[in-house]
Symmetry: C3
Subunit: 362 residues, 3 copies
């Protein structure tokens, strides 16, 4: 519960209206009431913009506000709405609640201010830092190190030795530190290549549901600080994900590939192994990056294999015009055949000098 004036102060924004009015939540316009903060960013409501405010407060640009409304004035309303939401719904912190069914194995060190829900297992020698919340059924493997203020949603699993920085959030069902997929054939069978490396998730990373991040085979798989990873993503052994990288759902990244800082990766993208995406590159959904490929920064890519988006769009448009291209070629063939006949009849000697390629041959 925060007053409008206090929220304005926290966000560093001017406000108008009733500063003492208190807000408890963020809402869509449809579901708002007097306790709600809503936002308007100038899009999609030209004619329907209401005359009375359907919420306790709005974040919007000055030009969209009406007198008498409670409002936080912002030229970047969506960002400030997100910031406000983090004030109204602050990240929860563990305070020491322990369900009797939670198991802490010998030698594990769990800070007193950690919540352990039903069925949690913390393995031998693991460390869990102050303020963490381990939801129902979370399994922390032996020797793991979990930083402070992490939230592990139900049934998250860390294989032994995984390390998480502070303020990491992992959503339900995700698995961190599984064996990489590496085998060497001896001609008769697949011999497992050792999967004995580590996995490090740096601070402020958020990982979606049912995602899998394998540990390194010999070295370390690393997810950089502030990276955001969606549901059902696959990250293979020895992958290096840079700071602030964003990866949408169902994308798969093969072994030893490097995604540099602040790259943005769409959904269902596939990366071959040992590829490199340079800082700031953007790769569209469903694209495919070949093994060993270097994707330059500062550009948008699409396609299988990836090409610069502008180029790919042009190619795709031409793909759609293949029937017309085919027709034009056939027409040209006809015209050329007639020209050859015309020239032959003009030259009068029966010898066709202009055509040794038979028009019917192709």
């Amino acid at each position: 519960m925060v007053s409008i004036a206090e929220l304005a102060r926290l966000l560093g924004l001017p406000f108008q209206g009733e500063g003492t009015h208190t807000l408890t939540r963020v809402s869509s316009w449809d579901e708002a009431d007097a306790s709600s903060l809503i936002f308007f960013d100038g899009r999609g409501m030209d004619s329907a913009f209401p005359s009375s405010l359907p919420a306790g407060c709005i974040i919007a640009p000055k030009k969209n506000l009406r007198p008498g409304w409670n409002a936080l004035i912002s030229e970047n309303p969506k960002l400030d709405f997100a910031r406000a939401a983090n004030c109204l719904l602050p990240r929860p912190r563990g305070s020491g609640a322990r369900h009797p069914s939670a198991v802490v194995e010998p030698g594990a060190v769990v800070d007193p201010e950690v919540d352990l829900a039903a069925g949690v297992v913390v393995g031998a020698g693991a460390h869990v830092g102050c303020g963490c919340i381990l939801h129902a059924g979370v399994v922390i493997g032996s020797g793991c190190i979990v930083g402070e203020d992490c939230i592990l949603h139900p049934r998250v699993l860390l294989y032994p030795g995984a390390r998480l920085g502070n303020r990491v959030t992992v959503h339900a069902g995700s698995v961190i530190g599984g064996d990489g997929f590496g085998y060497v054939s001896d001609g008769r069978q697949q011999i497992k290549f050792p999967q004995a490396g580590g996995v490090v998730i740096e601070e402020d990373v958020e990982i979606g549901c049912n995602t899998t991040i394998d540990r390194g085979s010999l070295g370390t798989t690393r997810i950089g600080a502030g990276a955001k990873i969606d549901n059902l993503v696959q990250i293979a052994h020895n992958v290096q994900i840079g700071r602030g990288v964003v990866i949408a759902a169902q994308t798969g990244i093969s072994g030893s590939t490097v995604i540099e800082d602040f790259a943005v990766i769409g959904g269902q993208v596939g990366f071959g192994d040992h590829a490199r995406v340079e800082s700031g590159a953007i790769i569209g959904s469903k694209a495919g990056v070949l093994p060993g490929k270097i994707v330059r920064g500062g550009e948008v890519y699409w396609g299988i294999p990836v090409r610069p988006l502008r180029e790919y769009k042009k190619l795709n448009a031409l793909f759609g015009r293949l029937p017309q291209m085919k027709e034009r070629i056939e027409q040209l063939q006809q015209q050329v055949r007639r020209l050859e006949e015309g020239l032959k009849s003009l030259s009068g000697d029966g010898e066709v000098r202009s055509g040794n390629g038979s028009p019917g041959a192709s």
Copy 2:
């Protein structure tokens, strides 16, 4: 255990043979015995069709039956076999079995006729309706509402506030109500956009294994009555899935996209955000739908980005003939060069009137 006569009555089908013979299961032809019901839909067995029935009863069209066989007579044998299976193997119902390790938190309301297996957790304030079966390790978040006769297979997880209608089935490992993937960059880092909305799964929905369905960011994610969703599917925040929609494995649907009633979506399809698939459209496996795209109903689509199937097949065939197209163009270039030379020599004045485009330029 149902007699053939009783089964015929339940299905509204005529039968022949021994009406009192009892059946306990459905089988493939290979694994059938006297207790089995099998079916034949006229496909794939022309010459090998046996003279004696290898099962207790068959469902088949009249023309395929032999005298003396126990049979249910159906012109739609596969459908009636499925209906019969639902008589022989009726959907199980909870009857109040409670494993001592199941945890029901204060304020949760669990109907007496609910089965709670080992390790189940029902969060504070949740409601679980009559006849539900919660298998081992299911976690129901606080405030969830689960209708009657739902079956949640092991390790299904509902985030707080998720709502399920009656007769919903969720297979093992699926997660319903996780945070949507939404961030707003402030130029330095990704600020989490609030993921405070709801998720509603309507009655008779079936969801496969390890699928993820996020709740709305502000509004509600909704899966319509009777929809069927396969394994490892990703459904993002605020998506609206219509009634009776079928979605095959590993498909991903981005935020706010709408799939209208009775659309059929293949496997590994990807949808950008804010797309709309109209009622009855069919989208083939691995297709890609661009953000904001409207896919019209009553047609089959394929490709990345999607096009009507007929069109896509033609384009794909032409794609396979690109080498021939290239060859024809080269041949035409040669023919035209010779024509230009022939014409020049005929006109006799050294001036090539017919060609200002240099043939060697391209």
Copy 3:
């Protein structure tokens, strides 16, 4: 802990240096110390190859070794390194540890030498063989048969009746034996087709994290001995996977498809139903195989739909040259128009014999 001489004996390799020196682990070059075994396969270190050995022992070809180094001499260092790792880190075996929270239901038979971790559930009538390790939260459905020396990582789930051979490894969160995705429409709703078949995982199979393998609808889904399956893979009802098949992450295989022995399947590949991949075929990542398609053995394939790789690469190169093809066609059209005019002016009678296709029509 193994001495170099002993390791040489176990691997059948010659060695040089201090045979009594003991090794405890395999390492990357960066992380090696005196207890480490490392390997060098001649790639990627031409100039930087060090003069002193940064590890307790190296596996490398004779030509790369320096005098005085402890070394196992191998012409196939990566394979022998993998074999050595399996000596240094032998597969763990259950020895009878039972967490008090593990539940063994009546009628289940668990060998005394099985480890059951916290929260494990073994269903009624299941059999678990000698030497198995069931990690935290594993759920074995009723009537399952698990062979000897299997390792089921945390939260693996077997639906009732699933059968695993000896030495099967299943990584965290995978689900084996879920219902296949089969419905028959009655015009109003989807009627569930019976999913009453079985699933058999043969010996020495390894399955990654959060993968889903459905049981047969009526027959049996089968994964052949020694097959290796990565994370987040979907295998549908009645699929037959041959011996030694390798399937990378996020690939999906539709119902009744057959992958014959020793085929290799990349990541994010999709298979329609009733397809067949012949023994030894290799299918590149992100490829798509149409329903019913037969993919011949002994070749590499790529593309959607798949084509032989050589052919696909050529087509893809031509796709990238569509703008040039279009330009050449336009140039040809211009040249032909000029030729037609030239011929007409030469023939002098105003009748264009060579062109009845209007050049502007296309």
